[in-house]
Each structure stands twice: as structure tokens, then as C-alpha cells.
């Protein structure tokens, strides 16, 4: 057969998100709580900077690593999380944080390497590991422990022998956040068992209770961690596709080698928007975070009133309530009966079963209506 996908691709199933997307698309009266991106637009100042750059004809490639001005702004920005990286040698601007994750996997994995992934997990990590020739190892987390990753859970899953860990907190899909102490426990485990860490911190700016702790800042971790972040979630710039990776100079140099042959450079227009976002859009960032936080409290208290168990998500823009049974059936029936789209937790791995991912990246009035509909669905079910 011609154009036969290789085994890695052929054996990777289509994302479970896709099915719900197609079901939701069939109707036009749907309120969707299934969206994994902000409902805001990028701050206007960032958008005008992009427009101005286009008008000025700035449409060529940039340096492989991204414009130095942007890397300098990033280096300054991440100091809020105690991260210190040299803009010249330790930061790589990528086409979305997604490219950064893929680059890290392809740069550091040997064939057959094991990569621990805590579940429920963002849907791209496990396929990404396989595409890079590695073997994902699921480390289940559960509502009993607020979906936090612990050294015990890692040990139980056999992750002591893993070569790398993908760590994503604040978490998609649960909204869970790890505090300094909890992160330190995982860091110690990684140092003890010589595990590299890919820390996807894309939701760091959307941490509502306390401050985000980056695992890279803990003892013994800087040299074994690639920190990944980006502009999509905090600055509502998903479609502009801009992220970055930070790590020791040698590691970033190696990632840049893959990047320069495969991507050349991240989108130029987006880089101009990002420079402006970092320069002048702190207020917008704060306003969006304040608004998300209000919705978060609203959603969680509504689920409590309905009698659905919903642990207190403290970050990102997701709540992850238990639906008491088959999550897929629940989501399908809810869509059918009430026109509300949510994502069944099992899409994010077996550890997500019995839960729903509720995105509150939706305006307050729609959110209210959607929760009213869910409430009446729960009552009649």
C-alpha cells in the first residue's frame, strides 16, 4: 500500500475529544463547556503590535531561537516564578508550547525510553512520547488526593525506572495545582531516581490560590528540567501559536538543533504580539485571571449545590466534578437532553473516568444557563 502510516501513527487512536467535537457540531443550540482555550481575545495592544508589524512588512524569518528582544522580555517575565534563564542561550521560542513539548521529547528520548505521565492527562503527551520513540507510563492521580502527583503514586506505577516525567500543573484537565511542598516531594523523587522533567507550565499565570511553584527552581532540578510555557492561555493568544522552552544552555542548544531543521523559527507576527503582550499587557492578564477566578468559584459552588462531588480546582480554567458513573454516557446524554457540551474525563485516561472536564472559559451568562441545564439534567436522571 502507498502512503501507509507507520506503526507509531497507525496505532495511535484518534483523540476522544474529536468525537465530542463532532457531536456538538451537529447542533447549533449548544452551550459548550468543552473548550480548551480562553473566551477572551488577545489584548488589543498585542493585536495592534502584530498588525503594525505586518504593515511594516515584518514577514521574514526571525533568528531560530526567536527574536532576542522577545527572549529578553521572557527572561524578565519568568522571574516572577523565581526562574532565571539567560535570554541568549537558555530560551527557545517555539510554535506554541506544543512544539516545545514535541521538541523536548524528540531531543531527549532514546528509543524505548520510559516517560512517566500523570493521569488524567492532557491528551497530547502520550501520543507525543510514542511519536518520539518512547513508551508512556501512566501514573494515576485521583480525586481523593486532589489529583496531585506524589512520589508514592510514582513509585507504585513503577516510575522509579522512568527516564523522564512530563509534569503539568496547573493541570489540564483537572485544574489541580501543586504547592511548593508537594512539588518538592516530586522533585526529590526525580533527583533520587535520575529522572528528567518536562514541566509544562502553560497555565502558570492562571493560579488562583497562592503562587505557582516551578519544579525547575527546586534543588537539583534546574539541570534536569525543561520548562515550557507560552502565550496561549495567559494572554489568550492560542491561534497565534507561540510558546517557549527554557533550560540549561546545552539542552536548549540541542532542542534548537531539531527546531532549526524542522520549524526554522516561530511565527514572526506572533513574536511581535508577544513582545507587546509582555511589555504592556500585565493589566489584561490580571483582569482575565480575576474573571476566571470568579467563574471558578461560581462553577464549583454550583456543582456542590447540585450534589456532584467537585474538588476545589485552583488553577487553569477547568473544574473536574465527579458525575457518579459512566462519564461518557453522562456527557452524551447531557448534550442530547440539554444541549450542553462537556468533555468526559475518560478522554484524559482511565484515571479520569467518572468525571467531567468543565471549562469555564465561557461568559458568565452562558455559564449560568449551562449550569442550570446541568442541574435539571442531574435532577431528572
Amino acid at each position: 500500500m502507498t502512503l501507509k502510516p507507520n506503526d507509531r501513527v497507525a496505532e495511535t487512536p484518534e483523540s476522544g475529544i474529536r468525537k465530542f467535537f463532532e457531536l456538538a457540531e451537529e447542533r447549533d443550540d449548544v452551550i459548550s463547556l468543552g473548550v480548551g482555550e480562553p473566551d477572551f481575545s488577545a489584548p488589543w495592544a498585542a493585536r495592534t503590535a502584530a498588525i503594525d508589524s505586518l504593515q511594516a512588512g515584518k514577514t521574514s524569518y526571525t533568528a531560530n531561537r526567536g527574536k532576542l528582544e522577545l527572549r529578553e522580555a521572557i527572561a524578565e517575565h519568568v522571574q516572577r516564578w523565581d526562574q532565571e534563564y539567560d535570554p541568549e542561550s537558555e530560551i527557545l521560542v517555539t510554535t506554541g508550547a506544543s512544539e516545545a513539548v514535541d521538541l523536548a521529547l524528540r531531543t531527549f528520548l532514546e528509543d524505548g525510553d520510559t516517560v512517566a505521565v500523570h493521569e488524567p492527562t492532557y491528551i497530547s503527551y502520550e501520543p507525543g512520547v510514542r511519536f518520539a520513540g518512547g513508551e508512556p507510563l501512566a501514573v494515576p492521580t485521583s480525586a481523593d488526593n486532589d489529583f496531585l502527583l506524589t512520589p508514592e503514586a510514582m513509585a507504585d506505577a513503577g516510575a522509579a525506572d522512568a527516564d523522564a516525567l512530563i509534569l503539568c500543573y496547573p493541570n489540564n484537565p483537572t485544574g489541580a495545582v501543586m504547592n511548593a511542598e508537594e512539588t518538592a516531594a516530586v522533585a526529590e523523587f526525580c533527583v533520587e531516581h535520575d529522572i528528567d522533567v518536562i514541566a509544562d507550565e502553560i497555565y502558570a499565570a492562571l493560579t488562583y490560590d497562592g503562587e505557582h511553584t516551578s519544579i525547575a527552581t527546586l534543588p537539583g532540578m534546574r539541570e534536569r528540567t525543561i520548562v515550557i510555557n507560552g502565550f496561549s492561555k495567559a494572554y489568550a493568544m492560542t491561534g497565534l501559536r507561540l510558546g517557549y522552552a527554557m533550560g540549561p544552555a546545552d539542552a536548549i542548544e540541542a532542542m534548537n538543533r531539531v527546531h532549526q531543521y524542522t520549524m526554522l523559527s516561530a511565527p514572526t507576527t506572533a513574536q511581535y504580539a508577544a513582545i507587546e503582550a509582555l511589555r504592556s499587557c500585565e493589566d489584561s492578564l490580571r483582569e482575565m485571571a480575576t474573571e476566571f477566578n470568579r467563574r471558578r468559584r461560581f462553577v464549583i459552588s454550583r456543582f456542590e449545590e447540585m450534589g456532584l462531588d467537585c474538588f476545589t480546582a485552583k488553577g487553569a480554567f477547568y473544574a473536574f466534578p465527579a458525575c457518579g458513573g459512566d462519564d461518557e454516557a453522562f456527557a452524551e446524554e447531557l448534550l442530547e437532553a440539554e444541549g450542553v457540551a462537556v468533555v468526559p474525563g475518560s478522554v484524559f485516561g482511565p484515571a479520569g473516568e467518572g468525571h467531567l472536564r468543565i471549562s469555564y472559559a465561557t461568559g458568565m451568562s452562558e455559564l449560568k444557563t449551562a449550569l442550570q441545564r446541568i442541574e435539571s439534567f442531574v435532577e431528572t436522571r
Binding site: 467535537f21 449548544v30 473548550v35 492532557y122 497530547s124 467563574r295 468533555v343
Partner: protein, 162 residues
């Protein structure tokens, strides 16, 4: 942010939120919200609740003008006295003392341009302290109270995404 400031910021986006929903968003109970609202109203920060109306999309006659006002002070008449005299007219929607080339910025509304001009020439210009008025009629409103009147775009995100 303390509770009152957070409540003010929430009301400034949507004053029609009901007390139960406000309580859920601020992680408190409805009684506390009621109490804070009463305090904010009696202590002064909350002066009222109004809808933001795009009059041009109604069939009501509604004309607005921004009026620049220069005044001359004397021993008995300060800005406060002049402001008080002008603010009492219902046609005056807002009145501000400003820095720059003129003293007061006044927003005046009426049913017609004639209505507004007449008000300025008969009630404001003749005041002894007023030395000059410049009236700018509003031709088109693009944004009011933080709300962009042209912004009616729908949500073009994918309905379900990772």
C-alpha cells in the same frame, strides 16, 4: 483584593448580577453580599445602577452633546458653587471639572439638537460666571461605559477542543 473592592469590580462589569450569583463568585454567602451592598450604597461608593443604552438602536429621539465651559471665579463664586448651579438641571447628564483649555466638561442630553442648544443658551450661557461655551453634538457613539457598541461578533472557537 478585599471583599468590597472585589464586589465593586464585579458590579462595574455587571450590576444586574443577583445576590446569590455574586456570593458564589466571591466565595461568600448571600447575606454578606447584601450587607456589603448596603454599606457601599450608604457610605457613598455605589451611587446608582443604570443600563448602558445604545439610543441609536431605538426609535427614541435622543441627542447628546459635550459642552466645554469656561468660567470666571470671583470672591463669592468658586467652582463648587458654579457646579452646583449647573448640576441640578436634569438635562445635565454629567459634569466634571477638568484640566486644560476649559474648566467644565458637561454632557447634556435632550430630545433634539434644538432642545440642547436652547438649554445651553437659555440656562447655562447667561450665568454670570460663565464666560464661554462650546457645544459639540455627538454624531455617533462607538463605546460607552466600557462597552463597545460595534462588538457583536460571535464565538468562533471550536466547540470542543483539547
Amino acid at each position: 483584593m478585599d471583599a468590597k473592592r472585589e464586589l465593586l469590580s464585579l458590579l462595574s462589569t455587571d450590576a444586574r448580577e443577583d445576590v446569590d450569583d455574586i456570593a458564589r463568585q466571591l466565595d461568600t454567602d448571600p447575606d454578606t453580599v447584601e450587607r456589603l451592598l448596603t454599606e457601599l450604597e450608604s457610605e457613598g461608593p455605589v451611587r446608582g445602577y443604570q443600563a448602558v443604552i445604545d439610543w441609536d438602536s431605538t426609535d427614541t429621539n435622543h441627542v447628546a452633546a459635550h459642552v466645554e465651559l469656561n468660567v470666571e471665579l470671583d470672591r463669592d463664586t468658586g467652582y463648587e458653587e458654579i457646579a452646583d448651579r449647573i448640576a441640578r438641571f436634569p438635562a445635565v447628564e454629567s459634569l466634571r471639572l477638568v484640566s486644560g483649555d476649559y474648566d467644565f466638561a458637561v454632557k447634556v442630553t435632550g430630545d433634539s439638537m434644538q432642545d440642547v442648544s436652547q438649554f445651553i443658551s437659555e440656562q447655562v450661557a447667561p450665568l454670570p460666571a460663565v464666560t464661554q461655551t462650546v457645544t459639540h453634538f455627538v454624531m455617533e457613539t462607538y463605546k460607552e461605559a466600557g462597552i463597545d457598541f460595534g462588538d457583536r461578533d460571535g464565538d468562533d472557537r471550536l466547540s470542543v477542543s483539547p
